[in-house]
Symmetry: none
Subunit: 418 residues, 2 copies
Amino acid sequence: MSQSAEIICVGTELLLGDILNSNAQFLAQELARLGIAHYYQTVVGDNPARIKGVVNHASDRAQLLIFTGGLGPTPDDLTHETLADCFGVPLVEHPEILADITRKFAERGRVMTANNRKQALLPEGAAVLTNDSGSAPGIIWQPKPDLTILTFPGVPVEMQRMWREVAVPYLQSQGWGQMTIYSRTLKFWGISESALAEQVSPFFDLQNPTVAPYANNGEVKLRLSASAASEADARQMIAPIEDQLRQIGGLNCYGADNDTLASVVGRLLNASQTTLAVAESCTGGGLGEAITAVPGSSRYFWGGVISYDNAIKTKLLDVQVQDLEEHGAVSHTVAKQMAIGVRSRLGTTWGLSITGVAGPDGGTPSKPVGLVYIGLAGPSDGQSFEHQFGALRGRDWIRRLSIASALDHLRRSLINLN
Amino acid sequence: MSQSAEIICVGTELLLGDILNSNAQFLAQELARLGIAHYYQTVVGDNPARIKGVVNHASDRAQLLIFTGGLGPTPDDLTHETLADCFGVPLVEHPEILADITRKFAERGRVMTANNRKQALLPEGAAVLTNDSGSAPGIIWQPKPDLTILTFPGVPVEMQRMWREVAVPYLQSQGWGQMTIYSRTLKFWGISESALAEQVSPFFDLQNPTVAPYANNGEVKLRLSASAASEADARQMIAPIEDQLRQIGGLNCYGADNDTLASVVGRLLNASQTTLAVAESCTGGGLGEAITAVPGSSRYFWGGVISYDNAIKTKLLDVQVQDLEEHGAVSHTVAKQMAIGVRSRLGTTWGLSITGVAGPDGGTPSKPVGLVYIGLAGPSDGQSFEHQFGALRGRDWIRRLSIASALDHLRRSLINLN
């Protein structure tokens, strides 16, 4: 029989949008890692009737219900009461929990309130899921055959520790998570999602491993997932498919998983023992920020100049005043001079520059918002590249795409050198 | 009859935990703001049978279903097909959408693929919810009495614009969101959540408006929410409470709502008609990036130097080699010299600098990871400030706090000048 889990997050603060549901993401990643199937996530407020409806519905379609939230000391916190009610059992007080809560309050020099006593009440028949980082324990409960319920507090750090230290070993002892789902994500730059999808469409029909495309922030990804008895087996199933996809993707495929364009460029700079400096206009420092987000970037990144004002382009980057007047700051000529200037001033192997119109103001018919030039100077020459990112998605988008494109041009140059 | 909305996010990437469900948070905040009741959020994968089950269940308990995701060009994107199937209507091709997609591809110099044609297919009877920032439109559809369906792409920037520009006016024209919940968020820097909570605790008992604290990324916020028949009424209820809270918060309260430390600093620089340059070491350009994230920042921000390598600190910022050797790059002396140097080299009123140990490597017993110095040079003097952000939360956290703290020092100096 195919068993699956369902994540149920309880809390009116989620319905009000006060907090981002990072608990659902953590649990989703964990279920995927353990190979436990999971088809639905539900968020419901602190309302007993609605929580009850969700429990009834979920227990018809899943065999493992994982709750977060609603275990605190306030009258709003109703998860355990409601679960007891759903399955027709009373709440019973656990003296050992009460003692534990009392001790924790004493340790922190605080007085326990009557409210906190409520946290020692659990549905009859439920085992305690110990919380070593906070006051509210969860439960491990089989209220009926083929249904397991786990509850966790909403505080991420408490929930995650309880999950790792107690819930995972328990689930594995019960036969959950025997299969492992292992995933690799291939990352692409310089190709649209639809164009890539057409190139690799036969792979979308595979059953195990599966291949699925997705896109965000201008970046296209392919996720390869295999289900197997061990991670090693799953990796072995993925490897040949990954090879084929990388072959098709060619230079557009820049890396996998935690690789970023900046980390890949860093590896290539390290490998070639070369150094980099940047000159930024419309990105205002964002290119340097992206490069130095990589730990250890000081080995190849020396620094740069943020030449937001034109006077700085001439003063610190030796851009010719005449070229600024003739071609404008947003031009092939100035992009190239910025890259050459910063390379020469800082004494690095490479100079990489960005100048463009990020908007919302400052666009003209010949230099519209979204027009960006990227300059690249190396040991042998200087080049420049024109991009039109469009005005539609706004300033942040244009700046983010400018930074990624600049890194991508450098990446391709570093690869082509070899 | 009490009407409510339900948020349904479609995408296997959410079930695998690949992405955080920020769309649900955005829509939840918006529904709260508009006073539209909302009791459930569901996440479901790219699976027609399961999507269909979710639609059937949700349309029994809500009158407005808001979908995100599954509108893209790939075979995985099934939201519109499945909705058509749920309500027994065919998909019809909209020539105007096809023309629009074709035009957008042409503008960006790309060739449209056959896959993209699929995005012009909508359920019969559904109106187009225009997407001005991307290729996939959504729908506005009443497949049966008392049920309205809105669909949005999963890309947050596209979804948010479509929501604001098309969906909200439509919903209000249909009688949704008649009570208005209006919220203001006061933002603080330089005080902990618990210290602020103690100062303002009596306000937490208010019923309407309500006052609630929250914290993220080192920043503390107070949200004031009032429910009233009109936004004007709600604003009037909030104004006196906001005044009192600002009085209590003093200089620690730096702004409200969309204000950022960078935008507030920008306003103060504009008002004082002064200019700014930055010198960055461990933040690598992130301070300039934050300042130039504000549209119009070119009026007061001239640029800066990213002096990641020590040689750049001497070459471009006139930091004394002797001081680098004696005190180290992470020191009061060097922070001050960097600020003075960049102010003098770029010719601005203010120079702001950051030098620190962002980790994970490079810490020593006397200069541990998380130790950061901020330098500030103005017309009359140079100062420096020491911060210890700790190593626990990692490189990104240290860099983000360094940037915010630098902006906050400048903000306080600009205010104290008046």
